[in-house]
């Protein structure tokens, strides 16, 4: 999302004219947490479909999980239009890779490293892509899961999350994740995390998708909702016992 950095009249100072330089100064429409985990046969992702305009829950059907080539999946949080730009880069990357038609293909590790370079390069131009990305996949039986931030910080792990997910989902994953999760157990674990996020993250919406990638390929679930229970006393009267609150 572009924003006019300097809408004041054209000033020619020592730094030169910046009148036509546009950068993302802050994000406009954003998606919240994405979670990714390794499981027995591949990688699972979960993300809700909300698109927030500031703190307004403006859009309700934003797909934030996409496949990249045959072996990889990307999940994005942060500025939605920047994610769309990233998808243009990746689709072109995969197109040119396929055009070689030589039996070689980019795997999740390669795509992740590519994104790392793109993100860090953009932040060095003081024009970052305002996203936290999760990238995972499987190629030749080799599972891969990693993340990149808007300034290029990147790492691999068995389970990763962005934004609020780092605070609310990963502690649960650290306790309950293990290498031999079945698909059903993996989805159950992701839903447990997503439910916590739904309760505590104000930008989360109750409409989510699960993405799965295995050696057999990529599947994205239809959007669905989680069962919730709002009749706890603390929900009915949230300020009770919160001293000094109104």
């Amino acid at each position: 999302m572009m924003h006019l950095a300097d809408s004041a009249p054209v000033t020619n100072n020592l730094l030169g004219s910046e009148a036509d330089s546009q950068r993302t100064m802050y994000p406009y429409v954003t998606g919240t947490s994405v979670i990714g985990i390794k499981y027995k046969d591949g990688i699972l992702f979960a993300a809700d479909m909300g698109g927030s305009y500031g703190s307004t829950l403006r859009y309700k059907s934003v797909e934030r999980l996409k496949s990249v080539g045959k072996h990889s999946v990307i999940g994005a949080s942060g500025e939605i239009s920047d994610f769309q730009e990233i998808m243009r880069y990746l689709d072109e990357l995969i197109l040119y890779d396929n055009m070689w038609d030589d039996g070689n293909s980019l795997g999740p590790k390669q795509v992740h490293n590519y994104l790392t370079r793109v993100m860090y390069n953009r932040r060095n131009m003081f024009n970052p892509l305002w996203n936290s990305l999760v990238l995972g996949g499987i190629k030749n039986g080799q599972k891969y899961l990693g993340t990149v931030s808007m300034i290029g910080v990147n790492y691999e792990d068995d389970h990763v999350a962005t934004g609020f997910g780092n605070h609310l989902a990963r502690p649960i994953l650290r306790d309950e994740w293990h290498e031999n999760l079945t698909y059903e157990e993996g989805v159950k674990l992701l839903e447990k995390c997503m439910r916590v996020l739904l309760y505590r993250d104000r930008s989360a919406v109750n409409k989510l998708q699960i993405a799965k990638i295995t050696d057999e390929g990529f599947t994205l679930s239809e959007p669905y909702s989680l069962k919730t229970f709002w009749d706890f006393n603390a929900f009915n009267n949230p300020t009770l016992g919160a001293e000094g609150s109104w």
Partner: protein, 275 residues
């Protein structure tokens, strides 16, 4: 002086549909000292003959490491070979910076061929006068390619270029069917024997040849001179006699080796392809 009126620049066709300047560049490859390459499922061996231009000088380097998984052997203008090697090194480094993984060999070879092709279609350029044997390993296995000045490239099981390379090709043609399952040592051995064929009576010593290898779990490297001499002694690859092959299933074929080599001696091997 000139062969005809159609060879004064690269982009002029002859009425017979030929580009003479490109063909002359192909000839430059045949002038250079021989380089050979062969591969198994997992390994590639590149070898070359070292020719010093004078008693007082040392020989020029003809085998270059491009990356851990790619090496080249050249025949022709060494200076052009070095330029192209540098280009290949650059491509490999840039690829691994972006993708943190090795550049597929086939793709590098296509890029190299495209670079050579451009020189055959620009009036202010000249073709590269060098042939490159590119050996490499990637996720689809071991590969050996030959890139020539015309911009063509071919994949081979085994190949030889440079002066008197026809003799080595004859040797390789006779034996290549077993190369796929060859051990690393047997591959080196066949490289030495094939190389000897191009020597035409000269004594095989470690000082007149360079041997290099790459493969699964083995980064590209040039064997040091002591190792090469040890292998030459071990395999008895010295004299004129036919190769003392232990797995000589066909002794007749072995005996025919020097004859075949002599028959093709004046290096009249046809160009490896029609341009």
């Amino acid at each position: 002086m000139f062969r005809n009126q159609y060879d004064t620049d690269v982009t002029t066709w002859s009425p017979a549909g030929r580009l003479f300047q490109v063909e002359y560049a192909m000839e430059a490859v045949k002038q250079g000292s021989a380089a050979i390459g062969l591969r198994s499922k997992t390994h590639v061996v590149l070898a070359s003959v070292n020719k010093a231009s004078s008693e007082l000088s040392s020989h020029q380097k003809k085998i270059f490491k491009v990356d851990d998984h790619i090496g080249v052997a050249i025949a022709g203008l060494t200076a052009d070979g070095r330029v192209l090697s540098r280009y290949m090194r650059n491509e490999c480094i840039n690829y691994s910076y972006t993708y943190e993984s090795p550049l597929p060999v086939g793709r590098l070879v296509v890029q190299l061929a495209d670079k050579a092709q451009v020189c055959t279609q620009r009036s202010w350029k000249r073709p590269y006068g060098v042939g490159l044997l590119v050996g490499g390993l990637d996720e689809s296995g071991a590969h050996l390619y030959y890139n020539c000045p015309s911009g063509n490239y071919f994949e081979y099981q085994a190949f030889a270029i440079g002066s008197r390379s026809q003799a080595a090709k004859t040797y390789l043609e006779r034996k290549f069917e077993s190369f796929m399952d060859s051990s690393r040592e047997d591959l080196i051995k066949d490289a030495l024997f094939a190389l000897r064929e191009t020597l035409q009576g000269e004594k095989m010593t470690s000082s007149i040849c360079t041997i290099s290898i790459l493969g699964a779990g083995e980064a590209f490297h040039v064997l040091d001179q002591e190792t090469v001499q040890r292998l030459i002694n071990e395999f008895e690859v010295v004299g004129e006699e036919p190769p003392a092959d232990d797995e000589a299933a066909a002794p007749d074929a072995e005996a025919a080796a020097p004859d075949a080599a002599e028959g093709a001696a004046p290096d009249q091997g046809a160009a490896p392809m029609d341009i």
